[in-house]
C-alpha cells in the first residue's frame, strides 16, 4: 500500500466515522443540546456535511453541552483582536509568495543552441 492509498484510506475512514457521528447526533443528540432544533427536521440534512468534516469538534461540543460543562462567558470572548495578526501576517505572506512565484519563472531558452560535444562512434546495424 503506497502513501497515496493510505491517505485516501484515512479520508474514507474519517468520512465513515463522521457518518456514524452524524446519525447519532442528528437522531437524538441535537435535541438534547439545542432547544431550537427540537421539532425542526428539514434543516438537519444541511448539517450532515459539516459533521462528516469536523466530527471530532462535534463530539467535543456535544459532550460539553450534554454534561453541562458549557461555561457561558466563553460565548462572549470575541476574537476581533485576532485580526491584528491577520492584518499583519496575511499581507506579508501574499507579497512573499507573489515575489517568489515571479522570481522562479523561467523563460524559454531560445538563445541556447544545441552543441555537439563529441563525434559519433562507428555506425551500428
Amino acid at each position: 500500500m503506497d502513501q497515496a492509498e493510505i491517505i485516501l484510506m484515512i479520508v474514507r475512514i474519517w468520512g465513515v466515522i463522521g457518518a456514524v457521528v452524524a446519525l447519532g447526533f442528528l437522531t437524538f443528540g441535537i435535541d438534547q443540546v439545542d432547544e431550537d432544533a427540537q421539532d425542526a427536521y428539514v434543516f438537519r440534512p444541511l448539517i450532515v456535511p459539516g459533521i462528516l468534516l469536523i466530527w471530532p469538534i462535534v463530539i467535543w461540543r456535544w459532550f460539553v453541552l450534554a454534561t453541562g460543562r458549557d461555561h457561558w462567558p466563553n460565548r462572549y470572548h470575541t476574537r476581533r483582536r485576532n485580526h491584528h495578526w491577520v492584518g499583519m501576517l496575511m499581507p506579508i505572506a501574499i507579497i512573499v509568495i507573489l515575489a517568489t512565484g515571479w522570481s522562479v519563472r523561467q523563460t524559454w531558452p531560445a538563445h541556447i543552441a544545441p552543441v555537439q560535444l563529441s563525434a559519433p562512434q562507428e555506425p551500428t546495424q
Binding site: 544545441p114 552543441v115 559519433p120
Partner: protein, 254 residues
C-alpha cells in the same frame, strides 16, 4: 462610537434612503468587475501549440518493424497515403498509457499497427487502437533497420510527455500541466524533449535513460521546466532519440 449621521442598515428592514445610492453604485461596480474580468481573463489566454488528434483522418493501418528504445517505435515498411514507407512513428496507448505490454516480445519484428494519428506539423505519433486490431502479427522477416549515431550533444528545452506535446491535450506543456505529464510518463507514454533550437531540422526527440533504460526518476523533477542536459543522440528513420545523462540535467537561468 458610531454617530447618528451614518445611515444604519438592518438586514430585514428596507435600506435607509441615503444608503441606497451607495449600494446601487457598489452593485454596479461589482457586476462591472465580474463582466470585465470574465472578458479580459478569458480572451487573453495563450494559444496552444498547433497540434492535436486527427480523428478526421480515420484510423490508419501501417506495417513496420517494432523497435524498443525501450519506448516502442514503428519503422514503417508498408505505409499508406498518409504515412509513407520509411517514416518512424512513436507509439502510445489510449489514455495515459503506453503499449509496452502489447509489443514487449516484438522488438525487431514486423507488426501491423492501427491507430489514430497525432499531428504537430509532421505526423510522428500514433495512438494505437485498444482492441485486438491495434497490434497484429505479420508473417515475414523484418528487414534490417539503420540507426545513425549523431554523437554526444548538449541541449536546452523541456521534458514533456509525447502524447500531450502532440496535442492530446491543449495546452499540453508547462508547469500547470506537469502532474498530468508525469502521470503519462509513469504510464510509459514515450517521453519527448522539445529543443530550444532544431537539430537536423527537428525540434523534438524521443528521450530515454542512458543505455536503453526508461526515463530515470530524476528527470521527473524537471518535467515542464526549462532544462539544459547532455546525452547521446541517434537517428532512427526520421525520429531522433536522445539517451540523456541524468547527471547533467539542470535548470536554465532566467
Amino acid at each position: 462610537m458610531s454617530d447618528k449621521n451614518t445611515p444604519f442598515f438592518v438586514g430585514y428592514l428596507p435600506s435607509p434612503g441615503p444608503l441606497r445610492w451607495f449600494l446601487m453604485t457598489t452593485i454596479g461596480l461589482f457586476i462591472a468587475t465580474f463582466v470585465s474580468a470574465g472578458l479580459f481573463i478569458g480572451a487573453t489566454q495563450d494559444a496552444p501549440m498547433p497540434s492535436g488528434f486527427r480523428f478526421d483522418y480515420g484510423p490508419q493501418t501501417v506495417t513496420g518493424v517494432i523497435e524498443l528504445t525501450p519506448y516502442p517505435i514503428l519503422r514503417v515498411t508498408q505505409g499508406n497515403e498518409l504515412i509513407q514507407e520509411g517514416k518512424t512513428l512513436m507509439l502510445a496507448g489510449q489514455g495515459k498509457n503506453g503499449i509496452d505490454q502489447r509489443v514487449m516480445e516484438a522488438d525487431g519484428q514486423l507488426r501491423s499497427i492501427t491507430g489514430i494519428v497525432l499531428q504537430r506539423g509532421t505526423i510522428d505519433m500514433l495512438q494505437v487502437d485498444g482492441r485486438a486490431r491495434g497490434v497484429v502479427d505479420v508473417e515475414g522477416t523484418a528487414p534490417p533497420m539503420e540507426t545513425v549515431p549523431l554523437g554526444r550533444w548538449s541541449l536546452a528545452g523541456e521534458i514533456c510527455d509525447g502524447k500531450c506535446l502532440y496535442g492530446a491535450m491543449r495546452p499540453g506543456t508547462g508547469l500547470a500541466h506537469r502532474a498530468c505529464a508525469a502521470l503519462c510518463l509513469i504510464g510509459d507514454v514515450p517521453p519527448v524533449f522539445v529543443s530550444s533550437q532544431p537539430i537536423e531540422g527537428s525540434d523534438f526527440m524521443l528521450i530515454t535513460g542512458p543505455d536503453g533504460t526508461v526515463l530515470p526518476r530524476a528527470a521527473y523533477d524537471f518535467i515542464g521546466q526549462f532544462v539544459s542536459l547532455e546525452g547521446d543522440l541517434e537517428r532512427r528513420g526520421d525520429v531522433m532519440i536522445l539517451r540523456i545523462d541524468p547527471q547533467t540535467m539542470e535548470l536554465t537561468a532566467g
